[in-house]
Symmetry: C6
Subunit: 258 residues, 6 copies
C-alpha cells in the first residue's frame, strides 16, 4: 500500500527558483548584525556541503517565533546555493494526505535528492508536516519517525551530498520532541527585530515614510517584533494614503493585538 502510495503520488515538485523566490516577495533586507550572523553561517554551511567530502549530509534548523522571516531566509538560502537539485516539502501540498501518503511523499523527495550529486531540501514549518498541536501533545508519530530516520541517513551514493534546511516556530517542539531538534546538525535562532535601528532599516527599504514618522514608530515599538508582522501592520496602516502616519500605525499595532 505504501509502494502503491509511492507510485500514485505525482507531486508537483516544481520547487524551481520562481516558486522559491515567491517565498520572500518583499526581498531580504540586511537589517543589521543579527541578520548578518545567520546569513553568513548559512553561507558557510552551504559551502561545506558543496566542498567537504566528509559531509554527505548537512541538516540545519531555523527556529524562531512566528513572523520572524524564517521561511524567507530558508528560501533565499536555497535559491542562492545554486545546487542542481532543490526541492521544497511543505504542508499545503499534502492537505488531505493519509499518514502513509505523507511519508511516501517525503521519502520520494529524499530518494530523488540522493540521485543528484548536490541537493538541498527545504522543509517549511516542520510542525505542520507532522500535524503537531500543543495539547496532548498530538502529532503524527509515523511522519515524525520518517523524518527522524531520513534526517540521519547519508545519501547512499558515494560522494553525493545533501543539505536539509527546515523551519519551525513552535518552541514547545524543543521540549516535547527533543529528538527532532537533536536530529539536526545545526540549529540557528532567527530573532525578532530588537532595536529601533533594525526597525528603521526595514521600514526605510520597504515603505516610503517621513523620517519623523519613522522615528516615532520605532520609538513606539518597545517590545521585539517579527519582520513579517512589521510589514503586515505597515500595510494595514497605509490603506488610504501612500505614506504612513505614526498615529495610524500605532492604531493598527493595537488592532493586531501587539
Amino acid at each position: 500500500d505504501f509502494e502503491l502510495a509511492l507510485c500514485e503520488i505525482q507531486p508537483k515538485f516544481g520547487a524551481n527558483n520562481e516558486e522559491l523566490s515567491a517565498m520572500y516577495r518583499n526581498g531580504i533586507v540586511h537589517y543589521g548584525p543579527a541578520f548578518e550572523d545567520i546569513s553568513s553561517t548559512l553561507r558557510r554551511l552551504v559551502e561545506q556541503t558543496r566542498t567537504s567530502e566528509r559531509t554527505p549530509l548537512m541538516s540545519v534548523l531555523l527556529e524562531g517565533s512566528a513572523f520572524t522571516g524564517k521561511t524567507a531566509v530558508a528560501a533565499s538560502t536555497a535559491v542562492d546555493s545554486g545546487f542542481p537539485f532543490v526541492r521544497k516539502i511543505s504542508a499545503d501540498e499534502m492537505i488531505g494526505f493519509s499518514e502513509g501518503s505523507k511519508c511516501a511523499h517525503i521519502s520520494k523527495v529524499f530518494l530523488d535528492s540522493y540521485k543528484s550529486p548536490l541537493s538541498l531540501i527545504l522543509i517549511d514549518d516542520i510542525e505542520r508536516i507532522i500535524d503537531y498541536v500543543q495539547i496532548g501533545p498530538r502529532f503524527s508519530n509515523t511522519v515524525l519517525q520518517t523524518l527522524l530516520v531520513l534526517l540521519k541517513k547519508d545519501p547512499p551514493t558515494e560522494g553525493h551530498r545533501l543539505m536539509v534546511v527546515a523551519t519551525t516556530s513552535v518552541p514547545h517542539l524543543l521540549e516535547d520532541l527533543g529528538g527532532l531538534i537533536q536530529a539536526f546538525n545545526v540549529s540557528l535562532h532567527v530573532p525578532q527585530l530588537q532595536s529601533g535601528d533594525e526597525i528603521r532599516r526595514v521600514l526605510q527599504e520597504l515603505v516610503p515614510m517621513s523620517p519623523a514618522d519613522m522615528d516615532s514608530i520605532a520609538a513606539a515599538i518597545t517590545r521585539p517584533i517579527g519582520i513579517k508582522q512589521l510589514l503586515m501592520i505597515t500595510e494595514m496602516a497605509r490603506t488610504d494614503e501612500e505614506t504612513v502616519s505614526s498615529d495610524r500605525f500605532l492604531e493598527c499595532l493595537h488592532t493586531c493585538g501587539y
Copy 2:
C-alpha cells in the same frame, strides 16, 4: 481517496447574498460605540484586502461569548464587502462527513476562492468545524491542521486576494489551541451588551414597548447579556400580547437561566 472525496462532494455552496442575509434576520442594530468599533475595523480590513497589493491574505477572527451576534456581524461584513466570490463554510453542511471529506470540502472552497481576484470566506463556529469539545480536549486534528495550513497560504495567483472571516465562542480554544488563534492576522472581540443604553437601543428597534417597561427591563438586566439572548427572551415574553411587560420579561429571563 482524498482525490475521490474532492470529486464526489458537490457542496451546495450557494452562499449567495440571500443565504447570508438569513444569518441576520433581525437586522443589525447600531447599538453604540462598542459596535461601531468592530464595525469600522472590519470595513477597513475589507478595504485593505481590496486595495493593498501586499496583502494577498487577510484573516480575521471574531470571538466572543455565545449569543453576542458574531455570526450576524460576520455575515453582514461578507454581504457588504461586495466581493465577487463569497462563500460560507459551516458545520451543518458537513454533518456525517468523515474527517477526510471535511478537509476535502474545506480545501475545495479555498481552491475555488484562489481563482477569483477578490474573495471572502466565512467560517462560522470554527469550533464545530474541528469537532471541538472541551473535555480531553478532543477535536479533529486532521481538520485543524488543514485549517492551520490554509489560513497561512497566500492565493498562488499573483495579485489575487482572499479575506477569511471566522467566528468562535469557545474561549478555551484560546488556551488549548493557541496556534489556531495566532493563525489569524487580526482577532476582534465581539462584546455582550453592557449598558442599559445599549439594551434600550436594541429593544427600541426590535420590540414595540412602552418606555417605562423598557426602562425597568434595562434596569433589571444587571449583568452583560448577548444580543441574541436578549431577542430570544423578548420573544418568549411576548407570546400572548403584542407588547412586553417587564414582569413577564423578568420571569422569562429567569426561566432561561440568566
Copy 3:
C-alpha cells in the same frame, strides 16, 4: 458512505401518539406546585413555538436525577402539543448502529421535521444517544457534534418551526459537556418528590391503600424520592395482597437500596 447510510436506514419512526403514550403508562399525576411549574412552562414554550414568528427553533432540556419522571413529562408534552410532526429519537432504536449510522438517523429525523410547518422532536436520555460514560469521560464525539450543530440550526424553510425536548439524568454532563447543555434555549429541572404531601398525592391516585398506611409510608420516606422509584417500590410491596402495608413497603424500600 454517509449518504448510503441515510438511504439504507428505514427507521421505524412511528412515534405516533400510541407509542408516546406508552412512555407514561401510569399517567401523569398532578402532585403539586413543583409539577405545575414545569408543566405550565412547557405549555408556554409550546405556545411560543406555535405562534411566534421569530422563534424558528425552540429547544428545551429536562434534567433531573434518575426516576423523576423526565421521560413521562417529555412524552406527554409531545402528545399534548398536537403538532403535526412529532418524532422520538431514542437509543434503543440505534443499538448496534455505527457512529455514522447514528448521525444519519438523527439527521434524517431533523431533516424530515424541517418539511413540516410545526414539528416536535423528543430526544430521550441524551446521554445514551452520545454513548456517554462518566469515566474518561467517554462518549461519541461524532454524535455529540451532530447534535450540537442540529440544536443550533433553524429550519431552513421560512416560517417553519421546530421544538426539541430532550431528557437527561447525568448531572456530570453539565460539567463535562457544558456546551451540550448551553446548546438548549431553556433548561428545566425535574425534581424528586420532596414532601409527604406530594408522596400522598401520588399514592392516592395509583395505589389502593388505607390512609393510615399512606401516612406511615409518607412519614418513612425522609429523603426525596423519584416518582418512578416510588411506583416501583409500591408494586414490589403489593405482590401478594391488593393493598400495601407500610411494613412491607419499608422492607422493599430497603431492598431497593433507598
Copy 4:
C-alpha cells in the same frame, strides 16, 4: 453490518435447565440466615415479575467478592423460576466476537425474550461481557451502552414481562461505572461465609469429615471465605484419603494464598 451480524450469529442458546444446573454442580447448601435473606428476596422478585402487571421489567444484580456463589445463586433462581423462556448470556460464548457481534448477540437474546410472556435472562460476570479491566479503566463502551439501553427497555408487547439476573465480582464497577449498577432495579450483596457455623454447615453437606476436624478447620478460618473457595481447598486437601485432616486443610489454605 450489524443487521448482518444479527443474522450470521447462530448462538447456541440452549440455556436449558441442564446447562444451567451445571452451574451449581455442588448443589445449594442452605448455610444460614444470610443465605435465606438473598434466597427469599429473589423468590419474591420472581413472584413480582410473574404476577404484577405493572412490572414489565425487573432487573437484579448479584454482586459480591469472587468465589461467593453468585453464579450458583443466579442459575438456581433461573431454574426454579420455571419461566417458559430462560436464557444465559455469558462471555465464553462470545470469545473472539467483535464489539458489534457481541451487541448483536446480546440484543438477539433480549429481542427473543420479548416474544415470550414470561422471560428470564441470566447475565453471568457482567464485567467480562463488557471486557472490563480495572486499569485505565478499560472496557467496551459499545457493549456497555447496549446493556444500559436494554436494561431500561420494557418489553414492547403489552403484558409481556422480563426478569434480568446479573452477577459481578468487581467492586470497582460500582465506582467506575456507577451508571451500570444504577441501571438495575435491585442490587443484592452475596456475602462470604462469615461464621464457623456457616462453614460447618457447608462442610457437613459436602465432605465426609470427623466433627473434630471440622471444628478445627472452622476455628482456623478466621477471615471470611467464599463458599467456592472453601470447596476448592477441601478438594485439594483430600487428594489421597477420603476424609480431610485439619492439618492438611490448613496447608492447602496456605498454598491458595488465603
Copy 5:
C-alpha cells in the same frame, strides 16, 4: 472473521515431550528445600487434577523474577504429568498475529483440550501473550479477556479435567492486572537462589570446577541470583578453559550488570 481465523490457523502445536524437554536443556537441579517445596506442591496439584472428580479445572501461576527457572519448572511439570494431552501456548508462535488470531489460537488450544479426559496447557510468559508493557500500562485487552474467560471455564464434558500452568516475571502484573492473578486457583513464587549452598549445588552438577573456586564464587555472590543467570555467567566465564576460575567469573558477573 473469527470463525475464519479459527480455520485458517494451523498451529504447529506439536508440544510433544521433545519440544517441552528442550525448555530445560540443562536439566532440573534439586538445589534445596526451596525447590522441593514448589516441586512437591506441583506434583500434588497434578495428582488432584488426575484424581479429584470435583476439580474439573486447576490453574497454577508460577511467578518470580527473570531467570529463576519458571519455564523449566513448568515444562518439566508438564512432561512428568504424563497427561495424554499436553500443549504449550507461547508468544513466539503468534508473532505477527492480530489480536483476533491470537484469541482464535488460544481458544483452539483450550477447545482441543476439552476433548481429552486429562489435559495440561502450559502458558509461558503470560505477559508476552497479552502484549504487556509496563508504561501506560498497555496490553491487549482482547487477549486478556479471552484468557480471563478461559481460565474460569470448566471443560464442558462431564468428567474431563484440565490443568493450566502459566509463568510470568512481571511483578507489576500483580498490581495492574490483579484480576489476571486472581483468576488462578494457585499462585506459586519461584525464588532466586539465596544461599551459597544452593549456588554450590547448582554449580556442582553443571560445571566442572575446583571446590576452592566454587567456594570463592559462592562467597562473591552476595545478592540472590536467578538460576538461569548463574548458568549464563558460568558459560561466559569458561570460554577458553574447561574449568572456571573465580576471578574470571566475577569479571563476567560484572559485565552482566549484576
Copy 6:
C-alpha cells in the same frame, strides 16, 4: 495477512561487508583504554557465541548518548566476527511499513538466521525500529513485543547459535521500557570522549593539524564530546583550508550548540 506480508516483502538484506563497512567510513580509532574495554568485551562475547555449546543466543546492547560511535562499533564487530550469516535491521529500510510489515520483516531476518550455524544480527537504533518518542511515551507495542519475544528465543535447531548486537541512544528507554533493556544478556555503555588525550588521538589519526592547534582544541573541549560530533565539527572547521585553526574550530563548536 501476516503470512502474506512475510511473502511480499523482499527485503534487500545485502548487509554484506561493504554495506556494513560504510557504517564506519572514518575507521575505528583506538583512542584509549575506555575503547579497549568495550572492544575486548565484544571480542570475547563473539568468541563465546562461536565456541560455547550452551549459548545458543547471545544478545548485546550498546547504549550511549548520541554521536558516541555506537553504530560504528556494532558494525565493525559484525564485520570482524567473520560469521557466515550477518544481517542488519535498520529503520530506513522500513520507512512507510505498517506495524505488521515491520514485524514480518524483523521475523524474517531472525528466521533466516536460524538456518545458519553461526549468525549475527545488527539492530541499529532500536528506538527507531519501535517508533519511539519520549512524550506519551509512544511507540509501536506490536514491534516492541515482537522484539521482546525474538530476543528471548533460542534458535530452534540444535547447535545453531545467534548473536544480536543492538544500539540505542535513548536513555529514557531504560526507564520506560525497562523490559527491553533487560531482554539483553549484556548491556555495554559506549562513552563520550572524556580526556584531552582521547581527543588528541582521534584528531591525530583523522585530521592533519599542527600540534599546537591540537592542544588548544583539546584544551577548549572541557565537557565530554561524542566522537562523531568531534569529526563533524572538525569537518565544518576546515571548509576553506586543509588544516584547522583552533579559533575556527571553537567558532564551529559554538555554532553546533556545544
